[in-house]
């Protein structure tokens, strides 16, 4: 089309005479030089001459093919959001009343997760490594890394920080379960103190899942670890039903801790629980756990609930404007993560570690701020991805995979 510019719109057409058409059909391609055509819609058509008996072969109408790339600039599609996710501080340094080497700030999102063209995350997501206060059944792929520290929470925590680079350590007090060892709140609090002594990163304290017992344990732990800005994992609507939610929330507030509000994949329940907590706690002390289902076992529900929660928060729903935590270790609930499945799926150790990794990455893109994880390779990979996102290197050239020999 040379320097001619043709804009196509909806109406108007140029009719081309049969002779010209004949010539065109022989050429198959035309090039117009120094012509400027400004029409609403360029439609070139012709009618076969009268008297042709055989139906004409269907030939597409000759087009005026561009001969140069038609420039169409790209504009970055930016949006504004009325809402913003709260920032929550975990851990406290000496100056802040605790004993941690540094504190960690999570949340603060002002755009959907990793919409980097809009803005970088205010605070990159962080990884907590799960430890337990007693020997528990773990898949072999994980057990082989932690076997030696399984009955020794401080050593376990130290390994998580020193060897695996945990940003935080979560200590799950599962032995407090009345159906397991029924460890007393006092003993449990001692374990937390020992872990606080062993490492200097912020600590997440997990209960056993029995609402009454957890309330007792959390109240005691909150008091003993005064000022450390723990994250108590977790408070639930069950606690509210049992009339003990207020007690735990108040203990958290009085001693300077944050709480993890757990709900099972229902945003209305998450909001209801937050509303109840607002009566006792400032907004910047609440983190949400919207439930992490394993890959293959409902991860897509977790993914969508996290996307919905974050979009609603950005659009201004104050009851969802809290950072979110994912219990990513749940990935190992999937049998595909650990089961022997036949030689074509081996080695299962790699399969399992990748399972946890991919569970985490799906939720990373949905907006999760804190991951609780276990497998060293999964932790390493997710940390790397977060780092890459944070550095945002502009690739100059693309590797030629088309003709590369792999």
């Amino acid at each position: 089309m040379g320097r001619g510019e043709i804009r196509r719109r909806n109406e108007g057409s140029i009719k081309i005479g049969p002779r010209l058409l004949e010539i065109l059909s022989q050429l198959g391609e035309i090039e117009l030089e120094d012509v400027e055509i400004e029409v609403e819609d360029l439609e070139i058509w012709w009618q076969p001459g009268v008297g042709i008996v055989a139906p004409p072969k269907i030939v597409p109408p000759p087009r005026v093919k561009p001969t140069e790339i038609l420039p169409e600039p790209f504009e970055v599609p930016l949006e504004e959001y009325p809402g913003r996710v709260e920032e929550v501080v975990l851990g406290a340094t000496k100056a802040e009343g605790g004993t941690r080497a540094k504190r960690i700030v999570i949340g603060g999102a002002e755009s959907p997760a990793f919409y980097l063209f809009e803005r970088k995350p205010a605070h990159p997501p962080v990884i907590a490594i799960d430890t337990f206060d007693m020997k528990t059944s773990l898949p072999r792929a994980i057990r082989m890394y932690v076997e030696e520290v399984m009955e020794d929470p401080p050593a376990w925590a130290k390994m998580a920080v020193d060897k695996l680079g945990a940003d935080l350590v979560s200590i799950h007090l599962i032995s407090t379960d009345p159906l397991i060892r029924d460890t007393s709140p006092k003993e449990a609090a001692k374990t937390v103190e020992d872990v606080l002594q062993a490492v200097d990163v912020p600590i997440i304290v997990g209960g056993c899942g029995d609402p009454r017992k957890d309330a007792e344990v959390f109240t005691k732990v909150a008091e003993v670890a005064e000022g450390e800005r723990l994250l108590l994992s977790s408070v639930t609507l069950d606690m509210d039903e049992a009339g003990i939610l207020g007690r735990v929330a108040k203990a958290a507030k009085d001693h300077g801790h944050a709480v993890l509000a757990f709900s099972s994949m229902e945003l209305n329940k998450a909001k209801e629980l937050n509303r109840k907590l607002y009566a006792f706690l400032p907004r910047d002390s609440i983190v949400m756990d919207l439930t992490t289902a394993a890959l293959g076992y409902g991860l897509e529900y977790s993914f969508s609930i996290h996307e919905r929660a974050r979009l609603a928060a950005l659009m201004g729903d104050p009851e969802l404007q809290h950072p979110v935590l994912s219990g990513t270790t749940n990935a190992w609930a999937a049998r595909e993560a650990w089961l022997r499945m036949g030689p074509e799926w081996e080695p299962r150790e790699l399969r399992g570690a990748l399972w946890e990794t991919i569970t985490a990455l799906a939720l990373l893109l949905a907006g999760v701020d804190v991951f609780m994880m276990m497998h060293p390779d999964a932790v390493r990979t997710v940390k790397k991805v977060i780092e890459h996102f944070n550095r945002e290197v502009k690739p100059e050239t693309m590797v030629d995979w088309v003709s590369a020999r792999i």
């Binding site: 009325p82 919905r308 049998r335 799906a362 893109l365 690739p395 088309v402």
Partner: protein, 492 residues
Amino acid sequence: MTEREIKGGIKELSPIDVYMLLPRTNCKECGEENCMAFAVKLVSREVPLEKCPPILKKEKAEAYKKLQELLAPPVREVVIGLGKRSLRIGGKLVMHRHEFTYHNPPPIAIDVTDEMPLHPNPERKDEREGIIDRIRKFEGFSYDYIGKRLNLDAIALRSTSGNPETFKSVVRAVTEFTDVPLILCSLDPAIMDAGLSVAGDRRPLIYAATKENWKEMAELALKYSCPLAILAPNDLSLLRSLARTLIDYGLNDLVLDPGTFPEEGIAATINNFTMIRRCVFKRRDKLLGFPLLGTPITAWLYGEGSMEERAWKEAVLASMLISRYADLLIMHSLDGWALLSVVIWRFNLYTDPRKPVSVEPGLRTFGEPDEKSPLMLTGNYALTYFTVESDIKKCGASCYLIVADTQGLSVESAVAGRYLTAETVAEAVRKSGIEGKINHKFLIIPGLAARLSGEIEETLGGEWRVLVGPRDSSEIGKFLKEKWPPKLDFQG
């Protein structure tokens, strides 16, 4: 930004708008009661427009065309291949999964090159893999998941030889061996032409048109009526410009590749895919309204690392691209351990978010149970149920299984979310009609619901006893062998 704005296309389309263009004769030829019902199904993409015979008649041509436009998804649907195995890619109606449903799970293409031998020569160390072995492995990849078969979908044939004749002969050999949909990969039009001369009648995807070769590639795409991919690495202006140019050139079936950059390039990669989709759904950008191609295969070419590390990185990249809008993927690894999580995530993400995947609650029987057979309990999340079902069948037990209504949640989530409680279990047992079928009162509950055992006994009352089963149903066989019939004598 309001939620309505985010939702974009699909939500703005009202069944009334569609209804007005339908024949409105309520002829029922489509199988619906009336035209309005058909319109509703059209809008929710449950039926194709072509199920309405009258609309296909000549006199309705205009309405048909309008309806086609009205129902066209913001991301064009492009077909690769022909016949039963052909692949539909793109066709996306929404940006976020929860707004509607993602259509057309991204096919995974596995690469072979024209320098691979058809069969490896065992004498030569550098010939590890042959093309035919690779394709056999590709075809053999299959995993049964909730009653569905998860497979790989296409072969990407790359020319690494740089020789048109070599490419042509390998493309021919592959087409003779398999009817799987193909992607022909070369940036050299002469090589592409050679490949298309033997496979062009099978509608392969042509990869790719670039800043340099677009005209020649466009001619080939026209000549063979094949879809054409555009490659513009990390340059969305170029991508849009090439799309505009190729549309004006007469091509409609385009696929966009903004480049897949592994390692530190992952930020730019996800950024580009995300910006493109936002432009489509927020800005109605027609030039970017085409399926997106991701190439996790690039993970094999960056940095150092063992084969396992590269396959790992490739799977990581693939899973993130599936989450962020890729409509087609080209990969290299054929390792089951690496691909399994990728194909499962793909399947999961493309399920209908409005329907929890669940099965009917109620009593099931396995084998030929009698009054002494064990009675077990599980939840009605489809995956839980099918897993338990397959494990019971595997161990060959004759037994009863009560499927409790856990609202389509797994046992663990249902316990945590209080959908599986002593009350709901008691209700499920009562409703199951098991009384009278067995002469004992032992209920085996999932290990993951262990904490409910006491409460369930209390709530069921009478002589009921609860046995805590294994945490994973793969142990059911072992459990029954060791624990059934129960050793403890019934003492009331």
